[in-house]
Symmetry: D2
Subunit: 301 residues, 4 copies
Amino acid sequence: MNVGLIGLGKMGLNLGKNLIDNKHEVVAFDLNSKAVEEMQMYGAKGVTSIEDLVQSLEMPRVLWVMVPHAVVDSVISELMPLLNKDDIVIEAGNSHYKESIRRYNQLKEVGVNFMDVGTSGGMEGARNGACYMIGGDLEAWSMVEPVFKDTAVENGYFYAGQAGSGHFLKMVHNGIEYGMMAAIGEGFEVLEKSEFDYDYEKVARVWNNGSVIRSWLMELTEHAFSKDAKLDEIKGIMHSSGEGKWTVETALDLQMATPVIAMSLLMRYRSLESDTFTGKVVAALRNEFGGHEVEKSKGNK
Amino acid sequence: MNVGLIGLGKMGLNLGKNLIDNKHEVVAFDLNSKAVEEMQMYGAKGVTSIEDLVQSLEMPRVLWVMVPHAVVDSVISELMPLLNKDDIVIEAGNSHYKESIRRYNQLKEVGVNFMDVGTSGGMEGARNGACYMIGGDLEAWSMVEPVFKDTAVENGYFYAGQAGSGHFLKMVHNGIEYGMMAAIGEGFEVLEKSEFDYDYEKVARVWNNGSVIRSWLMELTEHAFSKDAKLDEIKGIMHSSGEGKWTVETALDLQMATPVIAMSLLMRYRSLESDTFTGKVVAALRNEFGGHEVEKSKGNK
Amino acid sequence: MNVGLIGLGKMGLNLGKNLIDNKHEVVAFDLNSKAVEEMQMYGAKGVTSIEDLVQSLEMPRVLWVMVPHAVVDSVISELMPLLNKDDIVIEAGNSHYKESIRRYNQLKEVGVNFMDVGTSGGMEGARNGACYMIGGDLEAWSMVEPVFKDTAVENGYFYAGQAGSGHFLKMVHNGIEYGMMAAIGEGFEVLEKSEFDYDYEKVARVWNNGSVIRSWLMELTEHAFSKDAKLDEIKGIMHSSGEGKWTVETALDLQMATPVIAMSLLMRYRSLESDTFTGKVVAALRNEFGGHEVEKSKGNK
Amino acid sequence: MNVGLIGLGKMGLNLGKNLIDNKHEVVAFDLNSKAVEEMQMYGAKGVTSIEDLVQSLEMPRVLWVMVPHAVVDSVISELMPLLNKDDIVIEAGNSHYKESIRRYNQLKEVGVNFMDVGTSGGMEGARNGACYMIGGDLEAWSMVEPVFKDTAVENGYFYAGQAGSGHFLKMVHNGIEYGMMAAIGEGFEVLEKSEFDYDYEKVARVWNNGSVIRSWLMELTEHAFSKDAKLDEIKGIMHSSGEGKWTVETALDLQMATPVIAMSLLMRYRSLESDTFTGKVVAALRNEFGGHEVEKSKGNK
């Protein structure tokens, strides 16, 4: 299949190679010409503008957009006047499902198909077999299924139905991921604080072989400990990129309780701080009523 | 009434003065002779040993024990051989209710009464009007009620019934206190992080006048901000002395969910750490699957 | 002062009477003519349309809008063409602070002042002395301060500054309220599940006299137990009206951890359900790996 | 190797067959003679008393105890007088690590070795390849390693060191398991409450193929949904058997925050209730200050 690939970052490059390995023809564009070059050397046709890219594709065109979610709208705006009825835009980044529904409707008005695709499996997955969660119209889906089938691991793609359902599924997937990662982290922290002196790599290995909690995340844990036995080199600052927050916000809108996912998110935020105002207030109050001494701050807020 | 007071720390001294103000005769003992002297200057009879103290009291004796919970058992062991049937030991510290039940039974065997008393209101309360939650036998209670009535604020004492029920009530009181304090702290942290620039003393003041959340804790908050407008001088390290933990443990034993009290406790523990192993594991995992950069630790664990 | 009052629900009626008690002249409007009549009998001038209301007021007009937040925008739309430069609209309902900032800007364009006012203290407060948190321009504030001063309890009003800061403060106030209420509830649940048999009204009373957790909410707790000793008549379904959710959402946007307020909100949502899908999944999983029996549902979801 | 197996429940029977498959000689005992018979038919030597069992084994004896944790102590008491120096007792149930340390010391005094073994993988694992976490003395370990190696999956056993370290590891494993299961459950609940209509079996399948959250628990989730598409037949009541609670209690003793594991436990407790006293108190309070209507209970507590 003839695919236009916009966005050759970590994920896009890997996906492009994966497509080519699977005999798809890739026309590739990125603002970063080095990345275009790398893609070209691997067998893609490199172009220097979105306009060129669109003109290079057979109709109905298949455009795979894999750019940071902050620039999705501008890419789509640039694409819109260039596309024809029945062309298909695949948006495979981490967008909020409500934005995907909006974009679907926006393109629908000019007859262009929009598919929202959540991608999991990391860079390794993009390269050798990803996991896709896909929303959009069924007719468009039936046209592009081969691209997904070929670049996914076996059974690693799922057409979920109406617009937005792909990114929604990916959002929830990441919410679960937050909770699982926090559970694993907390478990190892209990080990670390305990009276026992465990070899964490070996702990993770045994947990990966026959236990109830065996999982890819535990395999990654094993790998991380194999490189740095006590993670001495790493600070415990847990950044986040949005989907966990969206999951919690969506749950609040649905008036439902997701305490485990919510706490995993809140502890990420807590990890960004070295001290908290909550703590200052509570320490001050303990001093007020009980005469408990407070620890003095050394000038920093 | 004739009262033997053992333990002249912050709380004991204030209570002793309160008793004397209310025309009770206090015989006072502490290992710290300065404290005994201070009590004596206020009108108590100071003694230099528990033996002396016991011998100085009218029978049936009333002994008010106000010592750190780590030494309660040794004080009781020392008292036991010296006491007579129908004497009354009032244990007014922060003991675990199960220990109080054990002590009640231990003294019951030799005919001595034991009352477990939770005391709230801080040092100020001990001095001018405390709040008491009291467990133990009814007959003993009817003998000592005047001492509590006189040293409590109006309606500030409650005989709750069987042994242990006083300290249990105090434990739960402190659990609620943990939750309330955390709620107040979190609220001010939201203000602190917001786009607005509030005067927190004035915020606390308006919340103390007519609002739903007016409370003594909010008054203490107002007072704390009057001394240090942004709490710049205070570190947000939240120590804890046991009752919050006991509340959560008791709830677990009762198979019930106290998420708010539990989280207020866990965040106190979290505040004791500058970095967490949980965080290291999660950061390492994000790096493993997503290539997200980790922040390097500078050698400290 | 001459005040136009729009909205005579539970809060509006009480506030109107409070204004009149304090010698303010009230022109009152509500779609419900009964309410207008009641207000008129108390001394207000009743009108039958917003147009009449605006025409009845001295300039610069002071309009106090106290309507459900769903209709605030339509009331403001209706008011806008009728108002003159320097008129003042006071919006005293529970609006989201971002909406208040939007409305402030909207009215600013036509020279009309907008003040966002959070009101606490319940119906009783509205009637006899409320607690106000107020945002908006300083010049407008200096004109209307008397109205707030007279209808608040002593020290029960606070001009917090720029537009939005009043409703933001009220939002956080309610977040704290959620946390405090949950802490109190959890504490009593521990008592209820314990081996002791407490009289909860008396427990609440002693906690209101001299304890660290004495508070208006504890007084209300005492009152509630005085009417129904074990709350046998009440179902534990905890509805919510928005501010707690907004507090949590705002905290998420600020990337900060408010676990206590968040859990108090999530448990409210949990209370709306008799069974959960989370529970079904976990029960099914325990059955899958451990052969633990599941409890069968009787047909209901 | 010659192994005495005490306890032929779900796990014991499967393990016994696994041992026999791997050419070990099993002498088996259970109070349930049917189970002994079944074991005997599979190739074990069945005995009718612990005394017989001990006498049937070669010295130094290897005794594998796989009984409910409530009866471990009585089995050990019965064994103690029958054993000789250097015999090895393997306790492979779900005991608290502190009890295992106590038992280790108890048997140590009479020269008998004690090994604490946490077993994961469910019944299926016991039958075809389990996962073992093992504590105890190194010399004893070197004698019994073959039994574990043969009945575990590849790399599915780990000698962790000193007494107690095996059961401690299993406890934390289960704590992580609680958190992971809750995260999965919450994720599916968000799907269930959403505007989308997913096929959950297919969702779980795609998440098991290439995604970050692929795991054995997700495979079990897929299997559960394959049998009951919406889990309509299952009530969401989440029982628990101890290790999650122990993990949280241990974390509290270590003064550390495990909010995700803690909340997964608390929500299990919450699921045991149809209504809560916390909820009644909060609903009553909302009614007190805001006049919000409460829902009436229909007589049940």
